[in-house]
């Protein structure tokens, strides 16, 4: 069971196509994904080894119903317990896992649920990540918002009442440089209480600069913790360097960011091992930086423009729920975000168990908030989307729906100091 990721655009030149096929089919043409590129900061950290050694030792078929029972009975969830909870043996225990997860969520977060929205400001990308709509070989409308356009989008979003924003770019240092992102952060500080970033990985001094510009939270998805698999999916560009990406959160904390977020993109590789590694990445980093706030996202693969067939393979909703419950039981204190990739029904259910943060009023395209929020004509000057969303509820509707579920929507729990 695999996804067919490779799509050839008719608009590519013969030479470009030849190059594309070469890197797709001949691993020897690709760069070493474990080697840092010039300019990439190296840090002294043992977290990568700790996470990957444990993941490599994980044989999830070894775990039994007895191990799962024991894990559910323990007051403190150990790494062994987490392994049991992520194993196939735990699947029949989903309801009990959910009950335990809900208790932990309520203890740490009460009935609250946070609402935020992403804002994509550019979709240029230098990478060839085969599953991503922004990949450099995918023929889509590319766009980078000017600062005036960014401010216009922010005003529209802020007018809905939203107080937390996540600024995203495609991964092109050339098109969306650090100064540009910094200016976007400064604008965001005018309209929002909390500014998060999901951009290409940076060095710690660059994170420090962006923190000074107003950003306080950094999200980097590792996509998959299986470096060999990663190599086959991220064929070109700086994103190809797997260890530099792994260390992003630590560099962000070194740069003074208050919090960091993690995720594996479920469906790319062996999801049980990726889920284990994601949780351990948080666990070990929290031990080293106990003051930092941490959160996990749980994205599954989605279709993209020009490739409708991409899907999350064996990660069905039950498996996703199992992963989220295991995250919650092992890491009771971390935020868990469930994005608009998932259906409204799934999100309404999972916020009652373990998720603490949902996005609303989402667009993964560029510069289209006005048309999406007001129902107006779609402008020619809009950039295409990174992936297709499922839950398209507006901010107001999400707010009301969360209240209907008996939850207290929270728009801001942050103070920038």
């Amino acid at each position: 069971m695999t996804n067919d990721f490779f799509i050839d655009s008719k608009k590519l030149s013969a030479k470009a196509l030849e190059r594309k096929h070469q890197i797709e089919n001949d691993a020897s043409c690709r760069t070493n994904h474990m080697e840092y590129m010039p300019g990439m900061e190296r840090i002294d950290s043992d977290i990568l080894d700790n996470v990957i050694d444990t993941m490599n030792d994980y044989d999830y078929d070894r775990y039994t119903a007895g191990d799962v029972e024991a894990a559910l009975g323990h007051e403190v969830c150990t790494i062994e317990d987490l392994k049991a909870l992520l194993s196939p043996a735990a699947e029949p225990y989903l309801e009990r896992m959910a009950a335990k997860a809900r208790i932990e969520t309520r203890k740490h977060f009460g009935n609250t649920v946070y609402i935020f929205t992403p804002l994509y400001i550019a979709n240029y990308c230098d990478n060839y990540c085969v599953y991503c709509g922004f990949n450099c070989y995918n023929q889509i409308n590319r766009m980078k918002l000017s600062l005036e356009q960014i401010e216009h989008e922010m005003k529209i979003i802020a007018d809905t009442g939203m107080e937390e924003i996540l600024i995203l770019t495609g991964e092109s240092r050339e098109k969306s440089n650090v100064e540009y992102i910094g200016e976007a952060c400064k604008l965001a500080r005018k309209y929002f209480r909390m500014v998060g970033l999901e951009v290409y990985p940076l060095n710690s001094d660059e994170y420090k600069y962006l923190h000074e510009c107003g950003a306080d939270y950094v999200t980097v998805f590792q996509e998959t913790y299986d470096a060999d698999k990663y190599e086959t999916l991220h064929l070109l560009g700086h994103k190809r360097v797997w260890p530099y990406r792994f260390e992003s959160q630590e560099r962000a904390l070194m740069g003074g960011m208050r919090g960091v977020a993690f995720a594996a993109l479920l469906g790319l590789s062996d999801f049980r091992r990726d889920a284990l590694a994601s949780a351990l990445h948080v666990h070990y980093l929290q031990r080293k930086y106990p003051h930092a706030e941490m959160s996990l996202s749980c994205p599954r693969l989605r279709p993209i423009i020009n490739n409708e067939k991409i899907n999350p393979l064996d990660v069905h909703e039950k498996q996703l729920c199992q992963i989220i419950c295991a995250y919650r039981i092992f890491l009771p204190y971390v935020g868990i975000t469930v994005s608009s990739r998932e259906s409204a029904q799934f999100r309404d259910g999972i916020v009652k168990i373990a998720a603490t943060k949902v996005s609303a009023g989402v667009s993964t395209g560029i510069g289209d908030h006005e048309s999406k929020y007001t129902g107006g004509e779609r402008s020619e000057a809009e950039g295409d989307e990174q992936f297709e969303i499922d839950d398209d509820r507006s901010f107001d509707m999400m707010y009301r729906d969360m209240e209907k579920e008996g939850l207290q929507p929270v728009l801001n729990d942050y103070i920038y100091i």
Binding site: R106, K107, H108, F109, G110, N111, T112, G161, E163, R193, Q286, P290, H291, A292, E293, M294, Y333, Y399, Q408, P409, V410, L411, N412, D413, Y414, I415, I417
Partner: protein, 256 residues
């Protein structure tokens, strides 16, 4: 009993229940005021600092004293800045200092708390520091100008009750300021026990916020706190540690 008041820096309160800020909602605040009798409500500045939508400040009934806290602060400097912001927002002079360098257990940083207490007390704040129960630190906080001492009973949100009971008792015995037990109180019986020990007041949030019937639980807390307070004032009777008391005096053999 009628004259029995909680006095914090000259301000008198009838109620000895303080609502914490962790998980707020309109229903919770209503129940805390109406059914638990709360006269002090904690306000997390980081949440109050919000735009037009839901702001906790809109919920606070008149006559209730706001106790802004500095949650989100990781050191004394940040706590001081949040406290000043609270004052600018019109929250008054009360401030509860919360400084955490740990997002997992949310345990307070005593050392930074002493520093912040000193600075804010000097600026005229009525400082109520949340702390890990340590007698030496409590004495330092007194010297720094604290108005009360707020030791944690057990990890915040854990509902584990008086895990730090022996150390809180030492603070009650040795410190002349009101000792307000904060964090970890999960049941009315635990609140009652803390009050019997001589705690001046109880702060709770999760225990109410996650209760099945909020108003009923709020009134249960009120009664438990009042019962514990009455027991403390009346002077607890003889408490047998183990076994029965000998009916024949052990010293009966002694001659006059």
């Amino acid at each position: 009993m009628d004259n029995d008041k909680l006095v914090i820096a000259g301000h008198e309160f009838q109620s000895r229940f303080i609502l914490g800020s962790g998980k707020y909602s309109l229903n919770l605040i209503e129940a805390a005021v109406r059914d638990a009798g709360a006269q002090i409500i904690t306000l997390a500045v980081r949440r109050a600092n919000t735009k037009e939508h839901e702001s906790i400040m809109d919920y606070i009934p008149e006559g209730v004293t706001l106790l802004p806290n500095t949650s989100g602060a990781r050191n004394a400097d940040e706590a001081v800045r949040i406290a000043r912001l609270a004052r600018e927002l019109g929250c008054g002079d009360f401030v509860k200092i919360e400084i955490m360098r740990d997002t997992k257990y949310l345990l307070p940083d005593n050392e930074e708390t002493i520093k912040a207490t000193q600075i804010l007390a000097d600026e005229g704040f009525i400082v109520m520091p949340y702390m890990y129960p340590d007698l030496n630190v409590a004495r330092d906080l007194v010297n720094a100008g604290a108005a009360t001492i707020m030791p944690l009973a057990s990890p915040i949100g854990s509902n584990k009750g008086l895990a730090a009971k022996e150390f809180i008792q030492i603070l009650i015995n040795e410190i002349d300021l009101p000792i307000i037990v904060d964090a970890g109180i999960g049941r009315p019986s635990q609140a009652c026990e803390a009050m019997e020990m001589g705690a001046a007041a109880i702060m709770a949030n999760t225990a109410l916020a996650t209760a099945g019937d909020l108003p009923l639980m709020a009134s249960a807390f009120r009664q438990a706190i009042e019962a514990g307070r009455k027991a403390y004032i009346s002077g607890l009777g003889r408490v047998l540690v183990r076994g029965a008391a000998a009916s024949d005096p052990l010293t009966g053999f002694l001659r006059d």
